[in-house]
Amino acid sequence: MADIQIIDADKHFGTNHVIRKLNLQIRHGEFVVLLGPSGCGKTTTLRALAGLESIDSGEIRIGGRRVDQLPPQERDTAFVFQLYSLYPHLTAFDNIAFPLRAAGKPDAEVREAVTAVAKVLRIDHLLKKRPSGLSGGDMQRVTIGRALVRRPAAMLMDEPIGALDAKLREEMRAELRRLHLENDSTTVYVTHDQVEAMSMADKIGVMNDGVLQQYDSPTKVYDEPANLFVAQFVGSPIMNVVDCTIASTAQGTGLRLPGMGDAVMLGPRASAKLQGGTGAADALMLGIRPEAIAVSRAPVAGAIAAHVHLVEPMGAYDIVDIATGAGGENGTTLRARTASQFVRAQGDPVWLSLDDARTHFFNKRSGELLRAAA
């Protein structure tokens, strides 16, 4: 097991700049998820770590050793793909044992290592079956077992559970995370699914257009997204991002959304972010997560008067689209998360209060998050 460093890595496919000056420090034993839309460079980065792609410039180090010029087999990494790449004619046992036997390990050692890994993955009762007799989840467990059994310096996983159904994905998420905790293996995991990233990672590297947008803990990525891209890629329902204007008055800092009547006063923490000075001259956007909007059915002093536009029941809770003022083209629609059946009918009046600490502002031009001065 080892730490991983990517230093100033660049990669082109023809004229397409797929990795741009990427710097990433992964500590020994960390579970890092590279998250982004298709074409963002996350898979190319993973393949570059494995040695399946070269980089044009920069360095890759695994366990302190420079590996970017080494062939894949000398890098001591194990790669798990989305599609189970198992040998169909071999049993689960023989599939897992394959890399050890290829390395010429003695039988007793192979048996011991395979049994131990199978137990962790809870497939010890399936070892005599061939892949065709296994479910999708179990096949992927065998694939992961085959990667783990060599105790590689780094585990590299490319959407390993993307092809499974929703319920199995939920189970595998918990198992992969647990497996990581028990094995302490440095893991780099690639996905486009923000739920997987949030639920498994120690750290998330959000990528877009070959550029690393933010590299932080899931909580930090969620609570303090560095820019508009991250803000809207992580979280479901999506963070509300709307145009706004700010007016300083004698009472404090006022916020106005298009279509809204009187400005509402911002709390001290939101106001402090505006005093930070980042791009104060530029247009701003308000960013607020649906759960950070408190919805009231009775008038609240200082709240935003609005009305219900659409209710989306999720079972455990509702997502409610709420229009301020006129709504539609000239107004602003905000999404809030409420208890199930909290609001009943379209058109009902409601009053919205924004959670002070969770009210964000972004520079509309650069997309950057505004931060309170330290």
Partner: protein
Amino acid sequence: MARVSLTGLTKRYGAVRAVNGLTLDIRDREFFVLLGPTGAGKSTTLRCIAGLDQPEEGDIAIAGTRVNDWSAAQRDVALVFQQYSLYPNYTVRENLAFPLKSKLRNLSPQRIEERVAKAAATVRITHLLDRRTDRLSGGEMQRVSIGRAIVREPRVFLMDEPLSNLDAKLRELLRAELKGLQQRLETTLIFVTHDQVEAMTMGDRIGVVNKGELIQVGTPDEIYNAPKNTFVASFVGAPAINLFDVSLDLAAGTARDGALGFALEAGTRARLGELPVPGDRCVRVGVRPEDVKLVAEGGIGGTIYGAEHHGVEIIAIIQVGSHMLRATIPADSNVTVNQPVQFSFTQDRLHFFDPHTGERLSRR
């Protein structure tokens, strides 16, 4: 008036019954979602309604008239697929106008232009009308596909996973748009999906299908809060419902399986007393993750196996003996792996199923 009625619909592919004796009444102006896993028969059902497939048995009626022998064109329904089936070398305007140029319709160019403009405004693609369709993003293409269905002013819209190829953000956006659109157009819409979130958020009613059979029809509220069997219970809702078998002792007021045991509240005992509990006193309990609460004391003992920080909330995975239970808890909760915890259930929200058949136990 466009009620859609299916009676005993059966469609075979070789020896496989893709749809097996399906009977269903879809109301006029209803947003009806057919929900199920791959291979459930939902797309086949839709294709039978559209006239693209012929059922071996059963009747299809639209607005009270049997249409089995009508061609797809005669049925006056519009189908939107997952793949945008647009003409790539034509502009958006030409794509929208195309279905109206049929000789059967006999519309004047001016009338066609009006209807195209109206449909484009409805799906907000007016600014794209002169763009070629191969220059559009995925979301724009799907809007054009829907626009091309709208322009025909059909009696029924049929949509087969139209949002599946779009990214998560766009899907969320189009979900709300599509529901709003259907309400404005006041047309019957039958929507096929494997995504329970789409079904819950958009459907007036949902029909859950599995292996060619219709399992349950109900409002999102009914499907989520009174699932007819364990299949529906675990197919709808994320994280999935917790299911486990217990032996009941109603006299002592307890339910137990190995390490997982709890006292039944008076209300729960009364409820179980009225249910047809199997002779072996064994029931399958269903409890949604939001109905599992961590408590300081007096609860069921377990250990935190995993904690998923989802930002808006934490999904705690609690190990109790051989059971793994999921609980949705507030985002600021402090839980760490291997920590001992206690939890309880919101008992009036417990579901009870027959462990042998998987059917919901309900009062006879």
